[in-house]
Symmetry: C2
Subunit: 279 residues, 2 copies
């Protein structure tokens, strides 16, 4: 298991300094596990272990974990959070979904609203979309000049260095969906009464700029995959594979962090006497 996790991480990582080349990565690929029912069982087992890792993280209270999730519409950001992150104790796992910024947020630097949502020691934070929107939709839609957004890659790398060197592990996941699969999922959204409310006409406008987004993603991944906070590209056309890969990387990351329950500095025998003697 450990060995598969390490090899999976090696396969999915965007090696720092190399070009991401999304077109050479198959969104339908299923490296190391190509059986849906085995994947489902494995996901259940992995998800059940999250709670225990989180207890250690919380008891240790020295490190924290930040998971950044990016991906095109319908790539499964909400789905993976529900299925995989649902394994965490909600008391110590905060999910933040970053929408279009408010006027107040726009009046600050693009990391301002994010910084306020970084995890405290002992906690896990999940970011559904993130600062990276400021070099994705902002770039594709020309919301600020190139001179502005092109400087942000460095800001992001250095911001993440600050977090990592202050005790926060940063796991960046890009859910990689094919254009065809997005079409199927958007159609499904239109057809299912329980999903229709999620649909916005703007989704189709973004979809029409598919190639621009791929270029923007490729540049972002290439320029911000660092030794301290590398990107992983998750094949996302098959939901079960996407969930298995994310759960595997998550457990692998927590195991690498090795949080430990601390030894108490209490005089246990004395406390026990105090309680037992009470009456």
């Amino acid at each position: 298991m450990k060995d598969v996790a390490r090899r999976l991480a090696d396969r999915l990582v965007v090696a720092p300094g190399e070009r991401a080349r999304l077109s050479r990565r198959d969104p339908r690929a299923t490296p190391f596990l190509d059986d849906k029912s085995r994947a489902e069982a494995a996901i259940d087992a992995l998800v059940q272990r999250l709670d225990d890792w989180q207890l250690r993280l919380h008891a240790e209270a020295r490190q924290s974990l930040l998971v950044v999730i990016q991906g095109m519409d319908a790539s499964g950001k909400d789905g993976v959070i529900r299925r995989v992150m649902g394994g965490f104790d909600p008391a110590g796992c905060h999910v933040h979904s970053f929408k279009a910024p408010t006027a107040l947020e726009l009046a600050h630097d693009p990391l301002w609203r994010l910084h306020a949502r970084t995890p405290a020691a002992g906690e896990v934070a999940i970011w559904n979309r993130s600062h990276y929107e400021d070099v994705l939709i902002v770039r594709v839609r020309d919301l600020v000049p190139r001179a502005v957004w092109s400087r942000r890659y460095r800001h992001f790398v250095e911001f993440e260095r600050l977090l990592v060197e202050s005790g926060t592990r940063v796991l960046k996941l890009c859910l990689h969906l094919s254009r065809e699969e997005q079409r199927e999922r958007l159609l499904a959204r239109l057809e299912e009464p329980d999903k229709r409310w999620k649909f916005r006409e703007g989704d189709l406008d973004e979809r029409a700029r598919w190639d621009d987004y791929q270029t923007a993603y490729e540049d972002a991944l290439t320029r911000t995959s660092s030794e301290h906070a590398p990107w992983y590209v998750i094949p996302a056309d098959r939901k079960w594979y996407r969930d298995w890969a994310v759960a595997t990387l998550l457990v692998h990351t927590l195991a690498e962090m090795r949080p430990r329950i601390p030894e108490p500095v209490l005089d246990l025998a004395r406390l026990e006497r105090r309680l037992r003697r009470e009456r």
Copy 2:
């Protein structure tokens, strides 16, 4: 089921305008369900329904739910959050554990830090401890003069009115533990290596003021159980009963809120044509 939930709510509520009288409420009581294994199965079933209610709440995006949890040390606040609130999709359920206030927080009114953590429309927030600490530990330990804390009951009732009249349902739960059961649980904490880290010497100092806390709780429940935000006192000596009662009240509350998935205002046929025609 619905009927049991309504009768349970009637049994556990602190009727607005009446005295709470904790001493007449048995922490070991198990009204409406006194079989542990039936309770466990019922909890599983109830917890599984939370996700669906939350989807409706999120899709509707008009109402929100705030759950306030208070109780003595070891009464099971963390436990009930893990077991019951774990059923929510973490993306739409934020848990906030309020610890001793920081210097900055103390420089504001006692509702300042809480107000920033109220749930947005469509979301659920769980408060592990809350503004009520400002009339509990603050009163018992004489941290501010009586003239200050005694005015807070009204502040709290009116703050909750603001929330309720702005679309937030407020469910206030007091986990009611016996002094004997607290002793057993604190001893267990000392004995289990995985729980010891949670133990603080101060826990025994608070325990030594048990009667003062009971009085402070009774006054708080009596003076702040309102028509718009009543208190429920949950018998908490048996963990399975506590979890079942909380899960039942939670599902009952969501059912009363009746969140509905909205009908889209989209021209579905035209969007579907646009997607199908694409190429």
